[in-house]
Symmetry: C2
Subunit: 395 residues, 2 copies
């Protein structure tokens, strides 16, 4: 018999995926050019040329046994070393290969990091707005997700609410900065104060509280912005990274868990992740992709289009009357629904062939998400549709 738990999940389909499917059907009716699909966070720029050249070179190298062979369960040693060296330079922390566990993107990184430090029955605390898949990730590890309500004025963390959410059952705090969907970057002040609080709570509870830092948007920063890494301020940090956004490789499934060198049991986390893999059928990211990544570790795809799009959309939305916090990075905007009903707004926007994701599944039902990783031309052509949406509220 099909396992009931998963059969039941079929009934609760992802709102994002449903909008995307609607968009495809609508595009077949009115033409793809006329549907403004802001639903999916799928990078819209090519990968770095050096990456594709490295892939082709590896494929034709004749070194098939090495190129296509099994990866050791923690990842290919030279790749782990290259990543550790790069992080050491960038974060000024003493990362070594033993602290790096290679994963199939951020999803794989979070699945492993959560199981490594959060035993079934424990609690994981996150902050709204948050990526909806945190729900299944945390449930899959057998833990309970506790959500700190959004602080919608600037999308920094409401630290009093965070403190109230922490309990002796808290095994980990799960953060995402730059944030999907708000585009907010947690400030150094926020992170230092959070770290101080977690240190106190660790002593009070008598056990480690790990900070799982989900950082796939770390390199998508707008002019004048910096993204402080939580690992700089708190030793028990597991950094979960994906090359999906920075190198525009979402389908190739490559990322890592980087364990802070001074974390409790730092040297145990990667071997423990390798044990976790055995039960979930993970078995490492693809070898050829692992081998190509060191060639572009200090590069990114040409990410400028995201800032160009932000610089068109953000002021336009403000002019139209929408309240919106300016994002510091990512390719998301998270404005307020004027009447506080983002589900209604999403339905209404469809009438103008504008696909916008309600904030409900991000734990923030008064706001809606715009994923602006689409062509600039299309962003410009969508402005009249946004104007119609604004008029329907404000005119």
């Amino acid at each position: 018999m099909i396992t009931k738990k998963y059969r039941d999940m079929l009934a609760q389909k992802s709102a994002i995926r449903e909008l995307f499917d609607y968009g495809r059907a609508r595009a077949a009716e009115v033409g793809a050019d006329n549907v403004f699909d802001y639903s999916l966070g799928n990078p819209s720029v090519p990968a770095p040329r050096a990456f594709n050249e490295a892939l082709a070179r590896l494929a034709l190298s004749g070194r098939d046994i090495e190129v296509h062979g099994y990866s050791p369960s923690m990842g290919i040693p030279a790749v782990r070393e290259a990543i550790a060296a790069s992080l050491k330079r960038r974060f000024v922390l003493d990362y070594r290969a033993e602290h790096i566990f290679l994963t199939t993107g951020a999803a794989g990184a979070l699945a492993h990091a959560l199981r490594a430090v959060a035993a079934p029955g424990s609690e994981v605390v996150t902050v709204a707005p948050y990526f909806p898949e945190y729900g299944p990730y945390v449930a899959g590890a057998g833990c309970t997700l506790r959500v700190v309500p959004a602080q919608t004025a600037d999308f920094q963390i409401d630290l009093a609410a965070m403190e109230a959410a922490l309990s002796p059952k808290t095994a980990a705090v799960l953060l995402n900065s730059p944030n999907n969907p708000s585009g907010a970057i947690y400030s150094m002040e926020t992170l230092v104060r959070l770290a101080d609080m977690l240190e106190v709570k660790q002593r009070e509870f008598g056990h480690a509280i790990y900070l799982i830092s989900d950082e796939p948007y770390r390199e998508i920063l707008f002019a004048g912005q910096e993204c402080p890494s939580p690992a700089r301020f708190y030793a028990n940090t597991l950094t979960c990274y994906s090359f999906s956004k920075s190198l525009s490789l979402p389908g190739e499934r490559i990322g890592y868990v980087a364990v802070h060198p001074e974390a409790e049991d730092a040297e145990l986390v990667a071997p423990v992740c390798a044990q976790i893999s055995r039960g979930i059928g993970h078995n490492c990211p693809p070898s050829i992709i692992q081998l190509a990544v060191p060639e572009v570790l200090e590069e990114t795809a040409d990410l400028r289009v995201y800032e160009t799009n932000k610089n068109i959309l953000y002021p336009a939305l403000r002019r139209m009357g929408f309240a919106c916090v300016e994002p510091g990075g990512t390719f998301y905007l998270f404005p307020e629904a004027p009447d506080g009903d983002s589900e209604g707004l999403s339905r209404r926007a469809k009438e103008f062939d504008l696909l916008l994701v309600p904030g409900t599944s991000f734990g923030c039902p008064g706001n809606f998400r715009i994923s602006f990783c689409i062509d600039t031309d299309k962003v410009e052509r969508s402005l009249p549709a946004f104007q119609k949406l604004a008029d329907s509220y404000f005119a």
Copy 2:
């Protein structure tokens, strides 16, 4: 705190992995040429040239958004269609794209298939000898593994023992043919009788018993052999496949679950697998590898070396006095330890720089595994070491 369950697993390291590590250390001492490492099942032949050319072409195509983009959660539709069409032709069963779920190799396929049909608390029955990772796969799904003892005369299934192992708690039977480590191919007679028994038990228990058929060695068959597919005889079959062995791509993590078109809830299994993925951080095999596979669906790597090696080793071992069932396929031999103690034999073989895996972790402690996916030259040069091992027992 590091989760205790996984920390404890670190203490019980894989015997295969330990032998492999020993072999690397020993090779550093005496030279790799002088260590006869028969421990790992890592293909030793290159991938088909057409596969590497397809990869390079995709990498340099300029179609980055398509080539490196997110895959839909069940796999890229055209790839699922191509695989279904190929299976339909080969198995003469009406597979359609909706029956195919793409996975990261057989490990990913088994992790999903088990969770899809075996709810936590239920039992999964397998037959010794069996791949040791079945233990973590089944435990990871929250189920109990019940093992039908080996029938060492010919390594077919002891059907009376199978019948005794089935109970109302049985959700699935997990089979591997051609078998790692015995090389046995379950005969049509075995499969027909098993299917009849499962049909009766399904009616008796009032629920489906799925047959999860793990088939990565399906294409590695020796002269005169055929491998009957269990799906031909039993409708509730989920075929788990990996291209690792047939295309020599173990590191690239590509395989599938193929649901028998007449299985109970056949159309539900792939969507349910996509839901399972959300909790275990799977998110599809790499896009570029998915896209390259249809170009070589009817091809294999040049697998002849495995038969060449078998034709050297098998008669030599018999001449030396070892009892051994002749394998029908795979790249494994599974002879008997003359005194029934395969752990002792493995230790003794190390003295001759011969790395052989004891059968203990395969549920068959009287036999030992020889993975002969190594160069033929090395197989020939290893015969004197095997002779010394034989002499230590028989001379």
